[in-house]
Point group: C2
Chain length 326, copies 2
Amino acid sequence: MANVVKEETVFRKIAAAFAASRTSLTGVRLGIGDDAALFAPRTGCETILSCDWFLEGTHFLRDKHPAEAVGWKSLGRAMSDLAAMGGTPRCFLLSMALPTELTGRWLTGFLGGIRGASEKFGCVAAGGDTTRRKEILINITVVGEVKKGRALLRSGARVGDELFVSGTLGEAELGLRQLRKKKGLARATNAALRKHLYPEPRIALGQWLAEKRLATAMMDLSDGLSTDLLRLCAASGVGAKVEAAALPCVGSRDRADGLALALHGGDDYELLFSVSEKQAKHVPKSYRGLALTRIGKIVAGKSIKLALGDSRERTLAPGGWDPFRE
Amino acid sequence: MANVVKEETVFRKIAAAFAASRTSLTGVRLGIGDDAALFAPRTGCETILSCDWFLEGTHFLRDKHPAEAVGWKSLGRAMSDLAAMGGTPRCFLLSMALPTELTGRWLTGFLGGIRGASEKFGCVAAGGDTTRRKEILINITVVGEVKKGRALLRSGARVGDELFVSGTLGEAELGLRQLRKKKGLARATNAALRKHLYPEPRIALGQWLAEKRLATAMMDLSDGLSTDLLRLCAASGVGAKVEAAALPCVGSRDRADGLALALHGGDDYELLFSVSEKQAKHVPKSYRGLALTRIGKIVAGKSIKLALGDSRERTLAPGGWDPFRE
């Protein structure tokens, strides 16, 4: 067809990848192909939204991260923002810019990866925007729902609350370290690499904590505990004391290194949440096989302290990922 | 404060720029500063969403487009997608990547421009994502509401419908041409430059057409009439015949040039809509001072014809903007 312009070809490939999505089950009334998407949350719910960059060179490397992992991770980490509030992702908008030479096999792999995450977590494609660019640029908006008044904010932590995290901290950063050392495209040959390449948003845990009204505040760990905990504390107007010995670190021959990874490693997408002293005993050791670990306490003041044992403690400065740090 | 990381500084500057926004009036329950935003459309409405790239080098030039215009236009064109369905923009998510050296005066100008469009059209900032990058990257998700079942889709045009456009076509492209010839940052010294730099989404017109059930199909003209009309026709499974003499072209000494601008010029953000033959007489000559012009008809088949007078006609191939055309 002489009428077909190249942008339409790219667009159709994207639309076809998601054609089987059952949009009717997800509140999406109109998906890909019009000026905008239509969404209606279930009765008693409100719409919850978040957007996330995923940029070549900044967040992933074309020669190290397989296209499938780029697709999966771009959606996985975006869904994590909704998990962090106890919300349920329902659909997403995909903004992509990519070079013409990647519209073949690379795009197919990417779409396979994003479709995998989409199907696993029931979050369908509802629209997007596509353009050409030398480097791969991805921006994802995830849209979902949460029961009115039940969203878990960063601002609800109170002095005396206990602090918890899910899973293992520093694992994704360890995976990134391994990926950097290897030549060529990485494969998920162990847990650390798998967590770095194919992160799983903690949606079920977030929903459960919101539903049971267990957590007082919550967020996801994307830039590292030392950076993210400071954000939760600032939003709540409190301080915190973290016990180094309590942190669920990755097994490492070097204990100091395991601790540094747990404190400052990014990309874990685990949940950090506070629970009132009274309710803390109702937090189980694990939820659906995912460990839940008490790591410290909310205290008065503004600073974050790290207790090292023998009553030694030091201020925990934010050492996680910050794109603007030179 | 030793604790403050640079990303927080950029974030706070953005948050401060929108601090005065009256989020309570717009359905936004939780804005900037948490993991995600919360939105509830008014009773009887559904949520409408769209996202849009606005990239340095692709969509604007740092040395030609003032920071204020980059801010205004990034939001203005994104809101146009909601106008194109008869929706009302309520809030937006701003994803920005920019170089550290632009976090001062440039960012202030940008935020002033985006705030101007935000205030003029009642669409408040509800969240976003920020990172550092050599080039300026912007992606905006606009969220709004439309009465259930009233959104005007691209797919509703039927054979026999009359085709209309708002405003003047090709004006923004003429403005771009002028901007390219000048040295340094452009200023909105005439209507064409103003339309290129500070486009106004046709929100009121779109709402009115949806409310009166006048239009059968609608979209906004972002890439040029010849490209966009093909999209509307493809979605509706119809063809169209456009009358060259009827097009609302920009005044130009060269008539052929004015026609080419009207057919293929991008960035106008006018509305293109079809109206049944019976209802066409109810379309006024103008709506709130904005001209509405009948430009042709929906016909059977798949092709778009351009009638040139004297019963001559030719196929109108898509000649608008396509990022993937080499």
